[in-house]
């Protein structure tokens, strides 16, 4: 099983439901911090917003793209960052992490951030979403999306909704040329 995320750029209306819900549900312990995510100057959650204001304005939601060849897993000295065998997701085993921040540096997507109290790297899926996914359900960002712009599922299963969407649409993966093989599909049309 290889679980993947899908984000439909043609449908997203930038409502921030996923961005705020991710923070509120996964990291509620820091939700009232003056600066919950100083590294990104952002809220304490796993989804960043990137907007291009020039040309035809465009939007990306950036979070862990769950590479099949993840640079963060490559650099982790303790195998704390690893590809989960059951799900194919890139996860962090916090008990092994020593906090060297190599994974944060290594991620070409800027998907990781330092938790302000544990000083350990955080990434998608957050702790609550991990359990939701283990329970066989779709993570919070997918379940809250009002615009049908997100999906999540097994790309090894040709009948999963995500596989069907990928097969039917023009999609791309972020910074594909880097060879990281992200399991995150951006639908473009």
């Amino acid at each position: 099983m290889r679980l993947a995320y899908l984000w439909d750029s043609t449908k997203c209306i930038a409502c921030m439901a996923c961005v705020v819900s991710c923070a509120g549900s996964n990291y509620s312990e820091i939700m009232r911090f003056e600066e919950p995510n100083p590294m990104m100057k952002w809220l304490g959650g796993n989804i960043r917003v990137v907007i291009r204001e020039v040309g035809r304005p465009e939007l990306r939601l950036v979070s862990c793209f769950h590479c099949d060849k993840p640079p963060c897993v490559l650099v982790c000295p303790t195998r704390a960052s690893h590809i989960d065998r059951d799900t194919g997701l890139v996860l962090l085993d916090e008990t092994k992490c020593i906090g060297c921040k190599a994974c944060i540096v290594a991620c070409p997507y800027g998907a990781r951030w330092l938790h302000p109290t544990t000083l350990l790297p955080e990434k998608c899926p957050g702790p609550v979403c991990i359990d939701i996914i283990r329970g066989g359900r779709k993570p919070i960002c997918v379940s809250v999306c009002p615009a049908n712009a997100r999906d999540f599922g097994d790309i090894d299963d040709p009948n999963s909704s995500i596989s069907i969407k990928i097969s039917k649409s023009k999609s791309e993966r972020p910074l594909e040329l880097l060879g990281t093989e992200p399991k995150y599909f951006i639908v473009k049309g």
Partner: protein, 379 residues
């Protein structure tokens, strides 16, 4: 009496250093870049220790002893310098991670793909080899060795050098394997080796010549010796630097290289790194090499230490300040300013560094001609 004072002072310095590091560690702030000054400080110390080991091998492995056995006489100090520097590097490294007490996990959950895992292993091995080498030199002496001992010395020296080269290569790979940061991604190893040798030689020049002050002849030789190494390596560094800039110019690395070469950091780069870090020390070192005067090479060493540190700072920090977002045309920018906690940790390590060196000289028979008399290796 003087020895006791120095011992007490150096122990005090080590304690103060550790306290500073401790305070700094507990007040660490989160920066917009993940690898800040602590990683820079660590890299400088580590690379200096490695460079020092390379310099040491000129005698220990390749057998050049100097016209009057000068290099034989300073061999133990050279090894000591590597050890003290490496320990200082470790101190910053420990303080730089979030969970220093979990360092052992690197060995238990060793990830063979990870350059950092290898780095930890290589430095541990290197430290062990260096200590063995030091003990060997203390116990056996190093003047004229009979057969088996000579081979043992060569084997130890070879192991040290091999580990050192692996470690430098590894250090370069830590950066050079990171596709996220084009300014680092690529062939950094030669550049790092050049800086390593420069830093190692400069550090040794300062520390060893300081320890040997008064020994005029030896100093004169060492001035020529380190002057030669610096004068040799600086043009090589300049060559690699140029090559790095040229390759960066035509790749995404220019995103951040341009900041160094033509942007906000260009003044620092051209004045500090190029003029004060390459041209000026080259002239000074050449002068010492030809005349045997010690002052120019000391000055050159100080310049190299400061400017190469600044160069490492630029190389590590600036390349993290801009990155391409996964959306064409958008650049993610970060800012970085060094914080008090980082200064405390670096300051602590900088205090401990010479203190370790001085303390060891007081406790161990490391000066030319000294021999162990107590507890196997002590004076």
């Amino acid at each position: 009496m003087k020895r006791l004072t120095l011992e007490i002072l150096s122990i005090l310095a080590i304690i103060i250093g550790l306290i500073l590091i401790g305070i700094g560690f507990t007040r660490k702030a989160i920066h917009e870049v993940s690898w800040g000054s602590l990683v820079v400080g660590y890299a400088i110390f580590a690379i200096m220790a490695l460079g020092s080991s390379i310099v040491n091998s000129i005698y220990a492995l390749f057998g050049y002893r100097g016209p009057k056995m000068e290099l034989v006489n300073i061999a133990k100090l050279g090894v000591l310098f590597s050890i003290a520097t490496l320990i200082s590097a470790f101190l910053i490294k420990f303080a730089g991670v979030s969970r220093p007490l979990d360092f052992w996990k690197i060995y238990v959950y060793f990830n063979p793909d990870s350059r950092i895992a290898w780095m930890t292993l290589l430095y541990t091995i290197l430290l062990i080899f260096l200590i063995v080498k030091l003990v060997f030199f203390i116990r056996v002496g190093s003047i004229e060795l009979v057969r088996p001992l000579k081979w043992i010395k060569l084997v130890i020296a070879a192991l040290v050098l091999i580990t050192t080269i692996l470690a430098i290569s590894n250090l370069a790979q830590i950066y050079g394997s990171i596709i996220a940061i084009p300014g680092w991604y690529g062939l950094l190893a030669p550049y790092f080796i050049a800086i390593a040798i420069l830093l190692g030689a400069s550090g040794q020049a300062l520390f060893i010549m300081l320890a040997l002050r008064g020994k005029t002849e030896l100093i004169q030789f060492l001035s020529r010796y380190y002057g030669f190494i610096l004068a040799l390596m600086l043009p090589i560094l300049a060559f690699f630097l140029l090559w790095n800039i040229v390759t960066a110019r035509y790749s995404t690395a220019w995103l951040t290289y341009s900041e160094i070469v033509t942007g906000v950091y260009s003044l620092g780069f051209w004045v500090v790194v190029v003029v004060l870090g390459i041209i000026a020390p080259f002239i000074l070192a050449l002068y010492s090499f030809t005349t045997g005067k010690y002052l120019p090479v000391i000055l050159a060493s100080i310049l190299v230490l400061i400017t190469s540190s600044y160069n490492m700072y630029l190389q590590i920090i600036v390349h993290q300040l801009k990155a391409l977002e996964p959306l064409a045309g958008v650049i993610r920018e970060a800012s970085y300013t060094i914080t008090g906690s980082e200064i405390l940790i670096i300051l602590g390590s900088i205090i401990i560094w010479p203190a370790l060196y001085v303390l060891a000289i007081q406790l161990l028979p490391l000066m030319p001609g000294e021999k162990p008399s107590r507890l196997y290796i002590f004076k």
